[in-house]
C-alpha cells in the first residue's frame, strides 16, 4: 500500500527541512513549486484566465505513513498533478 500526500508549504525554504526527512527509496517527492492555473476565457481564447495558487506545492508518495507531513497536507478539489500508482 502506498500513501500519497499533496502538500503546500509557505515557500521552498520551508519545504526543504521537511522533505529532507523523507525515507530514502521508500518515498519520493515531486516538486511542483509555484503554480498558475489557467482556465478558458471565452471572450479571448488567446488570453486564458490565470490564477496563481498560493504557496510551494509538492506531491509525495511513500510506502509508509508519514505523520510529519500531515500539517502541510491540502485536499484540492481539482488536483494539479498526479503520481500514477
Amino acid at each position: 500500500m502506498l500513501f500519497k500526500y499533496k502538500l503546500v508549504f509557505k515557500d521552498e525554504a520551508e519545504s526543504l527541512p521537511i522533505l529532507a526527512q523523507l525515507p530514502r527509496l521508500k518515498s519520493h517527492a515531486v516538486i511542483i513549486g509555484e503554480h498558475t492555473r489557467y482556465t478558458d476565457n471565452p471572450d479571448n481564447p488567446d488570453e486564458p484566465f490565470a490564477e496563481k495558487l498560493e504557496g510551494w506545492h509538492v506531491d509525495v508518495v511513500s510506502t509508509t505513513e508519514l505523520e510529519f507531513l500531515k500539517p502541510y497536507e491540502v485536499f484540492p478539489k481539482n488536483p494539479i498533478h498526479e503520481i500514477p500508482t
Partner: protein, 407 residues
C-alpha cells in the same frame, strides 16, 4: 549439475535449537564453530535394516524394512589443536549429550542434524605423513536438508537468466529489488502501450530499463487528433505553447483543455524539453515542406526523428514559441485533407530526450525514478548504456542494463 566436494564446510554447536526443524537450526541464538582441516568427509545418511522373509509356496524372498540408523560420519582431519572446531569435537568425546551439526555443500544444499561424538583417534603414520585424527560422529536424529539462500553470480537481463554462485537458476526478485513508486509504461509496436505496476521491472529484448523521474505536461496524452483544435496556417494545431510575460505555459487545445505548468524562462532553456509522438504508423516525414506528412514548429531543425518504431521525438525549442505568431505550436498538418495520423501518445517533458511514455488524464503526470538494488555484498560489473550509474550496490540513471557479473 554435478559438483566436487571442494568447499564443503562443517560447523558444530553445543547449543540446542529451539525446535528440530530447519528454521530451528537457523536460530540466531546458535553460535556455530567451523571445524577446520577436514581431509575426508566420508559418507552419511539413513540406512534401514533389511528383513528377509522367505515363503515356501512362492519361493520368493520378500524384503521388508526394519529399524533404521541415521548413520555416522567418519571424519578424517589434519590435527590442529588450536582450531576451535576440533576442540569442540575433542571435548565432546566424553560428553553424552547431543551436539548439533551443519554441513554446507557446494551444490547449495545444507544438512542439519544432531549427533554424539563417538570417537576421537589420533593418527601418526610415517615421517612423510601429516599428524592427523579421525572422529566418528554418530547421527542421532533426522538429517534435515535445506538450501543456501540464493547469492547472485550473474544476470543476463536480455535473456532473463539469473544464476547464483551454486549454479542454480533464480528469479529476478531473488537477486534484485527494483524501486519505482509509480506505474510506468512502455510502447511495444506489436503489443501497443504496456502498463507496468508499481515496482514491476520493465525488461525487454534490450535489457532492463531504468529511467529518472519525468513528467508529461500534456494533460491528455491519449486524445486523438482532430480538427477541433486551433486553426493555424494551412491546417490544425494539435496543441500549443504560449508565453505570457515571464512565464511559459503549455496549452493543449484539442478539446479546450489546458496543460498547466508555469516556468520561469530560465527554467525552460532551448533544448531542455522534448516532444514525443507515438503512432501506429512508421515512416512519417516531418518538415516544413507541403510534401511532408506533418509539419513541426518549435522543434529542433523542424524535425522529429523516429527514435524507434512509430515513436517520433525531438528537442523542443521553448523560446521559439511565441504567443501571437504562426509559430505558436509544435505540430500541424499542412492541409486539412492531409491524411490524419493515429497517435497513441503525446508527450512533452522537461527532459532533453524522449523517456518512456507517461499516460496523462486531466492533469500532468510524473513517472518516478527507478533504482535497482543488487542483493549482494560483493563487487560487480555491468554491461549497460552510458547513462546508467552505479553507486555501491544501487544502480540508477537512464538506459538499459544488459548484463551483470558478481566478482
Amino acid at each position: 549439475m554435478v559438483v566436487t566436494t571442494a568447499g564443503t564446510q562443517l560447523f558444530v554447536t553445543k547449543q540446542r535449537p529451539l525446535q528440530y526443524t530447519i528454521e530451528g537450526f537457523k536460530g540466531e541464538h546458535l553460535f556455530w564453530t567451523r571445524v577446520a582441516e577436514i581431509v575426508d568427509f566420508g559418507e552419511w545418511g539413513r540406512e534401514y535394516e533389511n528383513i528377509n522373509f522367505n515363503t515356501i509356496g512362492s519361493r520368493r524372498t520378500h524384503k521388508l524394512k526394519g529399524t533404521f540408523d541415521d548413520g555416522a560420519i567418519m571424519l578424517a582431519l589434519g590435527r590442529d589443536i588450536d582450531d576451535r572446531g576440533q576442540q569442540v569435537l575433542m571435548n565432546g568425546l566424553n560428553d553424552d549429550s547431543n551436539h548439533y551439526f551443519r554441513i554446507e555443500l557446494p551444490d547449495g544444499s545444507i544438512n542439519y542434524f544432531s549427533a554424539r561424538i563417538g570417537s576421537y583417534v589420533r593418527s601418526g603414520g610415517g615421517v612423510d605423513q601429516v599428524l592427523g585424527a579421525s572422529t566418528v560422529i554418530q547421527i542421532t536424529n533426522d538429517i534435515l536438508e535445506g538450501m543456501q539462500p540464493m547469492q547472485l553470480k550473474s544476470a543476463d537481463f536480455v535473456r532473463q537468466i539469473y544464476i547464483d554462485k551454486y549454479g542454480r537458476r533464480g528469479r529476478f526478485e531473488d537477486f534484485f529489488e527494483l524501486t519505482r513508486l509509480s506505474k510506468a509504461w512502455q510502447w511495444d509496436s506489436s503489443k501497443g502501450m504496456v502498463e507496468f505496476d508499481v515496482g514491476v521491472p520493465r525488461i525487454t529484448y534490450e535489457g532492463l530499463l531504468l529511467e529518472p523521474e519525468s513528467t508529461n505536461f500534456l494533460i491528455d496524452s491519449f486524445l486523438s487528433s482532430g480538427r477541433s483544435g486551433m486553426q493555424s496556417v494551412g491546417g490544425d494545431l494539435f496543441f500549443g505553447v504560449d508565453e505570457i510575460g515571464a512565464h511559459i505555459h503549455f496549452k493543449q487545445t484539442l478539446n479546450s483543455n489546458y496543460a498547466y505548468k508555469s516556468y520561469r524562462d530560465s527554467d525552460a532553456p532551448d533544448g531542455s524539453h522534448s516532444l514525443t509522438y507515438i503512432s501506429e504508423t512508421t515512416g512519417f516525414s516531418w518538415g516544413t515542406s507541403s510534401k511532408d506528412s506533418l509539419q513541426t514548429v518549435g522543434i529542433s531543425g523542424s524535425l522529429l526523428r523516429e527514435v524507434s518504431h512509430g515513436v517520433y521525438s525531438g528537442q523542443a525549442f521553448m523560446q521559439d514559441t511565441g504567443q501571437s505568431s504562426r509559430d505558436r505550436g509544435f505540430v500541424k498538418r499542412p492541409f486539412h485533407d492531409t491524411k490524419e495520423p493515429k497517435f497513441y501518445l503525446y508527450q512533452l517533458e522537461n527532459y532533453p530526450r524522449y523517456t518512456s511514455p507517461i499516460k496523462t488524464e486531466d492533469v500532468p503526470v510524473t513517472r518516478l525514478p527507478e533504482t535497482l538494488t543488487v542483493l549482494t555484498d560483493s563487487n560487480f560489473t555491468i554491461e549497460a548504456d552510458e547513462g546508467i550509474q552505479v553507486n555501491g550496490n544501487e544502480i540508477s540513471g537512464f538506459g538499459y542494463i544488459r548484463k551483470l557479473e558478481v566478482k
